[in-house]
């Protein structure tokens, strides 16, 4: 024991015994240690049976200059629980007594945020527990004590796969050394000149690559010729500023490019498709679309609602916990930075990961197992979202082989904003106020990193691109910000996201000009270069434009919440972005070149229809067994183990929860909240996505997932004429014509669907270059479009949940079943590829939505559920076990379009995933009214709610096809759940 030999060199930093007091707190032997238990279970899961038991200790390092008495007081009053904790205090330079077979110490790497240490420090300062004049340096670590017989190899495996993340943490196995008080490396504070004027093509490419700038040759040439015109070389700071501003992440160059497809020329894909639909629809309730940090629509009276969804894919691939947490933190800041700032009222999240049961040998080098990624991102969303006090109410998880190397993590936030605060403008002379967290070396090059493909060494080279979130700092910012907004103490605001201050100040000053003195930016530690200060993506920061006369009042509001607020410069009318460091000029770029100088190359796109055969719909030998198998499919089974880890009740606004039904275990179609206490209006939040469709046909996929998001919204009572949608594209490398062709198809389908449904897009984001390279082979993800819908519910008292309500009620299928099983879960369990991807009939679907909504508004609908993955059979089963009531279904009555011979009628009726379909429960006395309101929409009475707990389906000939007790359906749906 006690070896570090097999841990990679980078992580095996052997530290000396720290010159610091070491406090380790373990649970007393008599008290439960859940962390120890979890680790033992995880080891068993990895086949490491040698680990018999484990305990986790929370460790703190405190300055050696503290007297023992002071240290004991701090431990007793603040760090330890008198009832639960066993306290170990180890003097500076000493080792703890040996009390386990192996000890493993996990500590944060230098420069990685340590919010707990900050909290301890502040608490000691506040209470005067630290001797006066003593600067307290505190850090934290975890000490694992392992008992059993693990080989060095097993220990290594346990450490790398469970105990630590190499990107942000260091590990010591068997040793007692810990890093303490190391100083941060010092960078150069001088202006650095980049020799660009005479560089040839190769050198230009090399400069971009070496600096991790993600600028291509054409862009480097544009910069070169701009500076040739000025007759000087750029500074490193100028080049970095251009790289951040021009990054795919910030600029969306692909969507704004000129694209040629089949001889057609599309000048700016986004403008021609998604934005043009919104502009043609021209809804007066669209208050702010596309140009701000989120889209805003009218809600009720003087109140508007806004919505933004972001991706955080690459950071989450290398640090799932930190990546997902900061993804949430970032999208919350988008909402804080829309208009003059909105109050976050709901959160959403969607994950796309590889199969949870992936065999370890199938895991590509450099990748984390999908299950570890999923657990990490869930924990990240949980710990950040819950701490912010924002209910996480909607989302989804999709499993597909295509996401093994490159998972997708989407996070969304809905906000509430008074109409007067929906617009903003910067005036020359306004002070630039940065508020929130301090700036450190975390998150350097996040914007440019996200624009590159992932590869085997991503976690090595990109460690600096990962940030660690500190939600309490962001919560403080939120509290102070809304107070300052209501006192009207600032004129404009934006968040510090990708590109850091560079993007925030650059965008706010785009129309006028700005000057920043970089040495004024508050730092976490000394040693950052001016460039690092300027582009750091350190979290929890916002930038405000404050009229000079309001500056001190504004700073006072933030200080009252213990939020640092610092003036770092001002906006002016120079038309230039000028940066100084202690008086020396670091950057002077014309705003016009910065924002409009990006070259617009012509990109080639191609598309050829998929070469799949249509396998039709083979007959199901045993439809009951198939239904049980479908309910347990990873993409259908219960998400309860995830949903319950999120606080979906905070703020007290919940109307329809993510899980509904008698036992609270049935999947609702969407969430409804009531954000204003003096109004019955509600907000419905739903989504739609399906990468399996995307792989087969990106255009039909786009139509299908828009239909799905709108179906979900309608099913919970959303008003289809007051529904807005958001697009989030995650695609492979669009430098490749076929990827770009797929993107064009999907974007054009978005336009078509938005116009047909009268549903405008109000915001969106794209994440391109989602590929994973091993050696020479680059694997793209399946084209994945997440559609998020935000809808106004006119009266929350009329919302409907999907669980069956009453025996004897009638069950209608609304909408036509079509021979569309391409990408379906049914074909997936048969191992069949290809087929026709579902797509809505855009000529009829909007009228069907309108009619069904009328029936819901009239109070005729008792339960409503959309038909999606798994089709009619799965939807009916979910409604039945949700309501604890059996059901009779008659397949002969299912409204179906005529079928080709290779489509079995029963299998098609039960398992087709055709769009625009619902199951609706109606009381017998409302039958006529309901049918009159549905008018000429396709619908049919297909079943009846039973009084017992039997789920029964009869075939066209009247024979019983499926007969199952509800408990078996619910068990199947629940069985795949895991934590």
């Amino acid at each position: 024991m006690g070896t570090t030999a097999s841990i990679p060199q980078e992580t095996a930093t052997i530290h000396a015994l720290p010159n610091a007091w070491r406090v380790e707190l373990f649970r007393k032997r008599a008290a439960d240690d859940p962390d120890g238990k979890s680790l033992t279970a995880a080891a068993r899961e990895l086949g490491l049976a040698g680990l018999q038991s484990a305990r986790m200790g929370r460790g703190y390092l405190l300055p050696p200059s503290l007297e023992r008495e002071a240290l004991e007081q701090i431990t007793r009053e603040l760090l330890a629980d008198p009832l639960l904790d066993e306290v170990r205090i180890i003097a500076p330079g000493k080792a703890p007594p040996a009390c386990a077979d192996t000890r493993v110490l996990v500590a944060r790497k230098i420069g990685v945020m340590d919010p707990v240490a900050d909290t301890v420090q502040q608490a000691l300062d506040r209470a005067g527990l630290a001797p006066a004049g003593l600067a307290l340096e505190i850090s934290t670590f975890r000490a694992w004590e392992l008992h059993g017989t693990l080989s060095a190899e097993d220990l290594n495996s346990l450490a790398t796969r469970v105990l630590f993340n190499d990107t942000i943490e260091s590990v010591t196995i068997g040793g007692e050394g810990l890093s303490y008080g190391e100083s941060h490396p010092k960078a150069s504070f001088e202006r650095v000149q980049v020799d660009l004027l005479d560089a040839d093509h190769n050198t230009l490419v090399e400069i971009s690559k070496r600096g991790a700038l993600s600028l291509n040759l054409a862009e480097m040439q544009a910069i070169q010729s701009h500076f040739q015109g000025l007759g000087r070389n750029p500074s490193a700071c100028e080049l970095e500023t251009l790289a951040q501003t021009w990054s795919e992440h910030c600029k969306h160059k692909t969507f704004a490019a000129i694209v040629e497809l089949d001889g057609r020329r599309i000048d700016n894909l986004l403008k021609q498709t998604i934005k043009s639909a919104t502009h043609e629809l021209d809804r007066d309730w669209c208050i702010s679309v596309f140009h701000d940090n989120a889209g805003i629509i009218a809600f009720d009276g003087d109140w508007d609602i806004c919505f933004k969804v972001e991706t955080h894919n690459h950071p989450s691939a290398i640090d799932p916990y930190g990546g997902a947490g900061t993804g949430i933190g970032g999208v919350i800041r988008d909402i804080l930075g829309v208009g003059l700032g909105a109050k976050p009222i709901a959160g959403t999240d969607a994950f796309f990961v590889g199969p949870a049961d992936l065999a370890p040998e199938d895991l590509p080098p450099g990748c984390m197992h999908p299950r570890r990624i999923l657990r990490g991102v869930i924990a990240g969303v949980r710990d950040y979202g819950n701490r912010m006090g924002i209910p996480t109410v909607n989302g989804g998880v999709w499993f597909d082989e295509g996401f093994v190397g490159n998972p997708l993590v989407y996070a969304g936030t809905v906000g509430l904003i008074p109409r007067w605060a929906a617009t903003k403008s910067v005036q020359p002379g306004d002070k630039i106020l940065v508020v929130g967290g301090r700036t450190g070396r975390d998150g350097i090059h996040g914007a440019t990193f996200s624009s590159l493909e992932l590869h085997e060494e991503s976690e090595m080279v990109s460690a600096a691109a990962v940030q660690i979130g500190d939600p309490v700092t962001e919560k403080r910012v939120l509290d102070a910000l809304l107070t300052a907004r209501d006192k009207k103490l600032y004129r404009s605001i934006t968040d510090c996201g990708a590109g850091g201050l560079s993007s925030a100040v650059g965008e706010m000053g785009a129309e006028c000009g700005a000057r920043v003195d970089l040495e004024l930016v508050p730092l976490k530690y000394q040693g950052l270069s001016p460039e690092e200060i300027w582009i750091s993506e350190a979290q929890e920061r916002m930038v405000l434009a404050v009229p000079p006369e309001d500056l001190s009042a504004c700073i006072a509001v933030f200080e009252a919440e213990d939020v640092e607020a610092t003036c770092i410069g001002h906006f002016d009318d120079s038309g230039h972005l000028r940066l100084y460091y202690e008086g020396a000029e670091m950057c002077d770029i014309e705003m016009e070149f910065l924002h409009d100088g990006t070259p617009r190359p012509v990109r080639q796109a191609s598309w050829s229809p998929p070469a799949w055969e249509d396998p039709g719909a083979p007959r199901a030998e045993n439809p009951g067994a198939t239904l049980l198998e479908l309910l347990a499919r990873p993409n259908i089974s219960s998400r309860e183990w995830i949903v319950r880890q999120y606080d979906h009740e905070v703020q007290g606004t919940s109307v329809l929860k993510p899980l509904v039904g008698v036992k609270g275990e049935a999947p609702g179609d969407g969430a409804v909240i009531r954000p204003l206490e003096d109004s019955f209006r509600g907000v419905a939040i739903t989504c739609g996505a399906n990468p399996r469709y995307g792989r087969l046909h990106p255009g039909r996929m786009a139509l299908a997932v828009i239909d799905e998001a709108l179906r979900n919204s309608l099913a919970v009572g959303g008003n289809p004429t007051r529904t807005a949608i958001l697009d989030n594209f995650s695609w492979g490398n669009c430098e490749r014509p076929e990827q770009l062709g797929a993107l064009v198809l999907a974007a054009e389908a978005c336009r078509e669907a938005a116009l047909a449904y009268g549903t405008p897009f109000i915001s969106g984001k794209d994440s391109l270059n989602n590929e994973y390279r091993v050696g020479d082979h680059s694997q793209a993800i399946p084209p994945t479009l997440l559609i998020s819908a935000l809808s106004v519910v006119s009266d929350v008292r009329r919302t409907v949940s999907m669980d069956l309500k009453c025996a004897g009620n009638l069950i209608y299928q609304v909408g036509l079943t079509r021979a569309e099983l391409g990408g379906s879960e049914y074909l997936a369990i048969l191992g069949l590829e290809g087929g026709v991807v579902p797509a809505p009939d855009l000529g009829r679907a909007p009228a069907l939505f309108a009619n069904l909504h009328l029936a819901m508004e009239a109070g005729l609908v008792r339960a409503c559920h959309d038909l999606s993955e798994g089709g009619l059979a799965v939807a009916a089963a979910e409604m039945a076990f949700g309501g604890g009531l059996g059901l009779d279904l008659d397949i002969a009555c299912v409204p179906t379009l005529p079928l080709a011979p290779n489509y079995d009628a029963t299998a098609t009726a039960l398992f087709s995933e055709a769009c625009t379909r619902f199951l609706v429960e109606i009381a017998p006395e409302d039958q006529t009214d309901f049918e009159v309101l549905l008018d000429d929409a396709a619908f049919a009475l297909v079943g009846r709610v039973r009084a017992d707990d039997t789920f029964e389906v009869r075939g066209a000939d009247g024979a019983v096809l499926i007969q199952l007790p509800l408990s078996e359906l619910a068990d199947a749906h629940r069985c795949a759940s895991r934590g």
Binding site: G389, K475, R644, G652, V660, G664, S801, D803
Partner: protein, 265 residues
């Protein structure tokens, strides 16, 4: 009779202050939300009120341990003022993080022979944060606004809500002093029968969800009655006959009524 006055206390990371203030207002108290810093600066604010509620959330990120830092702050700066407030008839309620803070601050009056705290709220037995609805049953206890035998559906949402005690003697003493106020119960099961997970969502000893101090005027509980004020908050309201309010409102109304009946001298 004058309208009772309530303060909702918050700090960095508190996130249930708005709905808690709303509950108190709906229950009839004039209510203000106050940052702990301001109360530390002016503890005399306690002399103007009858009710103090320590709101839920993640104070200081729940760093070190849930409620530890805020509890330490109250103990360090406000303990005498808070004790005087309770002695003069004031009511203190701690919900979720507020309960954890009351335990940490030592305001629930439970210490062993050495003067050390002998109760704690620790990691759920599932070792993770859980948000779910539970049913509470009120116990015969010292708390004047709790009526024994009543039941109330409420959501819990926490990671560190498992109530535990130093030893069996602690439990005996808590019971004898009428300090056990609320327990988790199965709505289907007979009263006061033992229940397992998830009815007891965190593994608390004897299903204890809330306790009071021996005076009954300080109460802490893990679940959130302020998240069940409206008719449509209940997870099965779409299956129920029309209702006028959520069950959590009555909880706050009972507290405000007690404050109204015995205004601070």
């Amino acid at each position: 009779m004058t309208q009772p006055k309530a303060l909702v206390l918050r700090t960095a990371g508190t996130n249930c202050d708005s709905e808690t203030a709303r509950a108190l207002r709906l229950a009839g108290a004039s209510t203000e939300v106050l940052h702990t810093k301001q109360l530390v600066q002016a503890p005399s604010r306690l002399e103007e009120i009858e009710i103090l509620v320590i709101a839920g959330g993640f104070s200081y990120g729940d760093d070190i341990s849930a409620g530890r830092v805020w509890g330490h702050q109250l103990r360090h700066f406000l303990l005498p003022a808070l004790r005087t407030f309770v002695d003069r008839g004031g009511l203190i309620l701690g919900v979720c993080n507020g309960f954890q803070v009351l335990v940490e601050a030592g305001l629930l009056g439970s210490t062993d022979a050495d003067g050390l705290r002998d109760i704690a709220l620790t990691n759920n037995s599932s070792n993770r944060y859980e948000c779910r609805w539970v049913e509470l049953e009120s116990q015969p206890c010292a708390c004047p606004w709790i009526t024994a035998g009543e039941r109330m559906p409420v959501p819990v949402a926490h990671a560190e809500g498992r109530f535990c005690v130093k030893d069996a003697a602690t439990l005996v003493r808590l019971k004898a002093a009428g300090q056990i106020a609320l327990v988790y119960t199965d709505p289907e099961a007979p009263k006061s029968s033992a229940v397992g997970y998830p009815t007891n969502p965190n593994g608390s000893v004897e299903q204890i969800a809330g306790i009071c101090d021996p005076s009954g005027r300080v109460l802490g509980l893990m679940p959130h009655p302020e998240r069940n004020l409206d008719p449509w908050n209940h997870p099965r309201w779409t299956r129920m006959a029309p209702r006028s309010a959520g069950e959590g409102l009555a909880f706050y109304e009972a507290m405000v009524a007690v404050a109204e009946g015995s205004p601070v001298a």
